[in-house]
Amino acid sequence: MIKFYQTGTFTVGNRLLAEDQRSVQADMHRTNSLNSGHRACQGCGEALGARYAIDAAMVATGNQLIAVNATGCLEVFSTPYPETSWQIPWIHSLFGNAAAVATGVAAAQRALGRNNVRVIAQGGDGGTTDIGFGCLSGMFERNDDVLYICYDNEAYMNTGVQRSSATPPAARTATTPAVGPSPGNVFGTGKYVPRIAMAHRISYVATASVSNLRDLERKVKYAMGIHGARYIHIFVPCPLGWGSASEDTIKIARLAVETGLFPLFEAQDGEVTASTPIRHKVPVTEYLKLQKRYAHLFGNPPDVGRIARIQMMADRNIDEFGLLQ
């Protein structure tokens, strides 16, 4: 346990801590797996989340890592042929088969006798919860030695902000316009893949957020320390798709956690084993108001009914995962 330091443990680095207690991102010599010059928008949460996760995995595996990337923003903005921002062995699959390709890469490493080389598959929520869902479920049930990371920005951003099965209720997308009697995405739709992953009883499932770096790094490192199928679902705000200010990316991710809308937890073999408590609980309006995709909730008069339903979702998460301790 770290004693009181000037900044607590909440900043990226801390000069008062011993080197080995600092975050990977504080290191002057971090891998920078996803390097400068990528074409992600200003303030991209996914670019940040991917660097956080892969840099941590590189440390955990001693740089013996191959990443398989589904089609999506992350692939498009990082690797327009022939340039790439990736500074690790990296392969692009189709939109829907990253989990299956990763299974193959892992099998190939095993066949070559490279037992120390580890494999990560990664994609956005579209490539994970919709298009790649069959391959993902197969990878889970076969317990292939792959960590699958989903960077969840809650819609198909690369193609112009279409709804995915990870789009939250009431959010406006190109395919769920804010018009009519139930504006935005419809309540009662969508799926929560972390729970589905747990239903496969795989060894490790976790959620993480770009706003909570140390928590994220700890989970990735833990996942790379074990074998079998593993899944981490990372919350990554999208300024373009959500209609938020580019400088608010971390703040919005933080509010998603602090409202209870995005619970941070870990599960092993199908059971929730730990959750990250909320430090200062805030009402969901604080989170919603910063995003134009929810602007229709705050008209004159405000849509108090839908806001209350979103608040109920947050409160349910708080109960379910014990987020207030």
């Binding site: 900044t7 680095g13 000069r15 010059g37 200003q42 670019a47 340039e83 790439t84």
Partner: protein, 542 residues
């Protein structure tokens, strides 16, 4: 062609893609002025020395502190710490205990025997300082460090001025005072005691001084006309507190009344208690809100059993020690007006604590001086109307505190130094203020202030032991680490870690960061996630 099937181009890095061209605004690192530094009358770089204290490097902290103020152990006891009143942390939980950390550093320096570094070169100039109080000592220290030869001439028998003859021992133990004075003298400052300067121009001429700094203080007690019987025992606060330093303690009796509402009044009343008075009563003509004495002094006095009669004036004192007191009422403008209601108080002695005047006799015959309301007027450079004669401390118009005096000494020293070489000293422009709204408090954990231990009441009212204790190393470190580092980078790595474009370059420890504008897209995450407001966005000009 040895490329694989269907591959026609070499693999390239995205570094070829200079995304900095997208930017319309750019982040800029800056140092803002923390409110504590802004409020410090001695101009200390408080945030700067706390930074060193946080890492446990107390000597570096003490050296950074003493760049501006050579008396930290004294400051940590007698300063009214306006820094803490303005501390941004006060809006979160409680202000950082700057004063107690300062005292810890000062005590640590005395304990470990840390010394000031002597000047590297000698200027050959001679400066005379009149008065060995806080202002004179501060000026001596800074002038000596500039390489000038400095002589202090002091009228009293010991150095310290009002720190010795005005502030009681239970607030400032004399070994602490002596230790910090001696360290200044050890720099090679000459001190002559028991020598009253009667004519400054003669003394300067006789000693071949190139400039003089006057800081004689305000030692003459103000009197009020109170009709009294011949045998009535009436004294003034200045002489009571001064005689506490001598062999003969003042005879105050069992019932003591102190008249006045400044900081001296509780000092005298508390001293009377310690000398054995059963009753010590402060009589003040206005209300507690209007009282100039600081709250904590009143609070500590009340805890020790001192009584205070508000809204009262003393009309006369009869021979047998009976005081006639008239009740006052505040008028619409807040000024006390008599009500015609009288009562009597029994007192063995009455001590007047009605303020002090300056003895300006040493300036007789000096041309071109401007003296108003008993104080010497000085310019922005602390120089009097007479070229080469500077003045500071209680003898110039200002708030009369030790810290203000120390600040005057430093400021005057800088101007004297420039004046001696025919230049003028231009202070660096102040940075913009780091206000509360510039901080990102998420990154700071909750941590309430560490209180200094108070001496038990029984011991407080019977002895002159120091009332307020010091912090231990553990809690001084904790206290220092409560600093939010307002407006100044403390290398938390947030900008470096949270840039989605790797456009922040981390330099070696202590050298902070740089932006790589080839790739910075100007998203502004670094600015909004900087805990201390040390980055700002500015528009791109082209």
């Amino acid at each position: 062609m040895d490329k694989p099937y269907a591959i026609t181009l070499d693999v390239g890095s995205s570094l070829a893609n200079k995304t900095g061209a997208w930017r319309t605004k750019r982040p800029v690192y800056l140092d803002r002025l923390p409110p504590c530094n802004n409020a410090c009358p001695a101009g200390e770089n408080i945030q700067g020395w706390l930074y060193h204290a946080e890492s446990g490097d107390y000597e570096a902290a003490w050296r950074a502190l003493t760049e501006d103020n050579p008396l930290p152990a004294i400051m940590g006891r007698v300063c009214y710490h306006p820094c803490e009143s303005s501390c941004n942390r006060g809006k979160v939980d409680e202000p950082v205990g700057i004063n107690s950390v300062e005292r810890f550093l000062g005590d640590e320096a005395l304990k470990r025997g840390w010394k000031f570094y002597p000047p590297k070169t000698e200027s050959g100039k001679r400066v005379l300082i009149v008065g060995a109080g806080p202002s004179g000592l501060s000026a001596a220290y800074h002038l000596r460090r500039f390489g000038h030869s400095v002589k202090i001439v002091e009228a009293g028998p010991l150095a310290g001025g009002m720190m010795r003859f005005g502030i009681p021992k239970y607030r400032l133990p004399r070994d602490v005072l002596d230790g910090e004075v001696q360290r200044i003298l050890d720099l090679g400052v000459e001190l002559e005691l028991n020598c009253k300067v009667s004519n400054i121009l003669d003394t300067m001429k006789a000693g071949h001084f190139d400039a003089a700094f006057l800081a004689v203080g305000a030692h003459i007690a103000k009197r009020a006309y109170i009709p009294a019987g011949e045998a009535a025992h009436m004294l003034d606060a200045v002489s009571v507190l001064r005689s506490m330093e001598g062999e003969e303690k003042p005879m105050l009796g069992r019932r003591v009344v102190v008249y006045g509402g400044g900081n001296t009044a509780p000092d005298v009343a508390r001293t009377a208690k310690r000398l054995g008075a059963i009753e010590a009563i402060i009589v003040y003509r206005r209300t507690r809100e209007k009282m100039p004495a600081h709250d904590f002094e009143i609070e500590e006095a009340l805890q020790e059993g001192v009584l205070i009669k508000w809204l009262s004036t003393i009309k006369n004192m009869a021979n047998e020690g009976t005081l006639t007191v008239e009740t006052m009422a505040l008028d619409a403008t807040g000024f006390p007006q008599p009500t015609g209601e009288f009562e009597t108080l029994e007192a063995d002695s009455l001590v007047l604590a009605l303020g002090q005047d300056v003895d300006l006799s040493l300036l007789d015959g000096v041309p071109a001086l401007d003296i108003k309301d008993g104080a010497v007027q000085v310019g922005r450079n602390m120089m009097t109307g007479h070229a080469g004669i500077f003045a500071g401390g209680d003898m110039v118009p200002s708030e009369r505190t030790v810290t203000v005096g120390v600040g005057h000494g430093k400021k005057a020293a800088r101007h004297i130094d420039a004046w001696l070489s025919g230049n003028t000293y231009a202070p660096a422009p102040k940075h913009e203020l780091a206000t509360f709204d510039m901080l990102n408090l998420w990154y700071f954990s909750d941590a309430p202030k560490t209180m200094r231990p108070l001496l038990e009441l029984a011991r407080r009212t019977s002895t002159f032991e120091e009332v307020v204790g010091g912090l231990t190393e553990d809690n001084a470190l904790f206290e220092a680490r409560r600093c939010l580092s307002c407006g100044n980078c403390f290398e938390c790595d947030n900008c470096y870690g949270m840039c989605p474009d790797n456009a922040v370059i981390k330099l070696e420890p202590g050298k902070r960061f740089e932006f790589n504008f080839d790739y910075c897209k100007g998203c502004g995450i670094c600015v909004s996630e900087c805990p201390c407001g040390a980055i700002k966005m500015v528009p791109e000009t082209n």
